[in-house]
Amino acid sequence: MILDIQRLSKRFGSTVAVDDVSFSAEGGEILGLLGPNGAGKSTLVHMIAQLIAPDAGRIRLFGEVLATNRSKTARRMNIASPYAALPGRLTVRENLAVYAGLYGLRRPARRIADLLEEMGIAPLADVLVARLSSGQAVRAGLCKALLNEPELLLLDEPTAYLDPGIALRTRGLLRRHRDSRGMTILLTSHDLAEVEELCGRIVLLRRGRIAACGTPGEVARAVLGRRDDASLRDAFLAVATLDG
């Protein structure tokens, strides 16, 4: 098991962000975290990335307890998040070279060139990140997230700023990486079609708690009852409506 979360909780002051959440992810799985704004998706992702410390519960990554093996586990995972950006005064290639060093890659030039090509931004390799459009910057961030061939990739709304064509291409890329390298992906998104297309299983969150967990169909039926026409979209809207 790549990721095993047991009874994880987090509060910020009086706000309960994550409340007694448990789930796991197997190798090669794409697991979706879904929920309305404030449901706790990003907090969960950032706790797994060790950017936020949990108040209670336990995270095991690659069989190791996260709290005691940070550097070791960090080498085997990566993250792309709307809270993260790359320094604007460095070119895309320079940024990737810096992160290659941070992740211990020796002679990363070929890897960087391949990723830029795959992501369709090879012509922008020597452009300052500050000069990129938001969509191009997101793709540069995804290159950084794939740089170390992570066994676990955390993606917080990875296609939020991408046009539909590039988003489609990005989803294809993620699937290819999953298929060829057995990479596990934990993905948050508000794009329900994207989640249905990519994710084998979904964890639907509401106010920090798991409202339902399973395949898109199972989640829809768990929320809406055993209706034949239950869709993930309807389930999401039902949960979001409850939050007002």
């Binding site: 060790q50 936020i52 320079e94 992740y103």
Partner: protein, 261 residues
């Protein structure tokens, strides 16, 4: 400690420095203007003064040495702030980079950035005040080491405060050195301070570096100040590092690493 990760952070700041006019001005322009202004002023005072007075050397070395402390403190704090401004902090803290490696890399970058302006400032000082004092200045290398260590301690402290109180207190990155200057006895002996401030000033390692500097320029022995300077700067560096580590842990608890604006 991983050399590859430290080198990566140094590389990141190397790229930034050559493209950032603010950093180039901080590194080269302002130190040179300081030396020029105060060097000319000290020569003017020398002409007015009739008795024995190590004036030009005291003033110019005071300016250059204070610049060393200020630059190390500022470069460490601004180096960290740059990661907040560019929202690179999430990527860095999610990577295998450790806090110690990050701080050590920032310190090495700060010291490397001193080499060129220090050489230029020394050259300019030679033009203004001659070469008689250069050998003495080189004999003051231990004072430089004290100022680098105490600059690093102050820089780490400021970085911790920014992490704790967010970028609302980022002005400390540029302003704290100025606030410490009156107590650091850069241009006057410790005894010149009002008695109530002397105790506080004595606790600063920078004070002992400047006390030693004046003693050496006056031909006196001040080994005691040197020892206190090293002891206090090492203590300050250890305390700041421990405090910073605790602040990082607290920032992880509060979620500040993700939303540090």
């Amino acid at each position: 400690m991983n050399a590859l990760r430290i080198a990566a952070v140094m590389r990141r700041h190397g790229y930034e420095t050559v493209r950032n006019l603010d950093r180039i001005a901080d590194m080269l322009l302002w130190p040179l203007l300081d030396v020029l202004t105060w060097g000319v002023f000290s020569l003017y005072l020398q002409r007015l003064h009739t008795g024995r007075w190590p004036g030009p050397a005291t003033l110019i070395l005071g300016i250059i040495f204070w610049g060393i402390f200020r630059a190390v403190q500022r470069d460490i704090a601004v180096g960290f702030l740059a990661e907040i401004w560019t929202r690179n902090i999430v990527g860095l803290f999610a990577s295998p980079l450790t806090v110690s490696e990050h701080m050590l890399a920032l310190l090495i970058v700060a010291v490397l950035k001193l080499v060129l302006p220090a050489a230029l400032a020394l050259g300019l000082a030679v033009i203004i005040a001659g070469t008689t004092w250069v050998r003495t200045a080189l004999a003051l290398a231990p004072d430089i080491a004290i100022l680098v260590l105490s600059g690093a301690a102050t820089g780490i402290l400021v970085t911790g405060l920014i992490l704790r109180f967010t970028s609302r207190v980022q002005t400390l990155a540029y302003g704290l050195a100025g606030g410490l200057m009156p107590l650091s006895c850069v241009f006057y002996p410790l005894s010149a301070l009002p008695p109530v401030l002397q105790r506080a000033a004595w606790c600063l390692p920078m004070t002992h570096a400047f006390q030693n500097m004046r003693a050496v320029l006056g031909g006196d022995d001040a080994a005691g100040d040197l020892a206190w300077g090293f002891g206090l700067s090492a203590l300050a560096l250890m305390s700041a590092s421990l405090l910073f580590r605790r602040i990082v842990q607290a920032a992880r608890r509060r979620g500040h690493l993700v939303k540090l604006d």
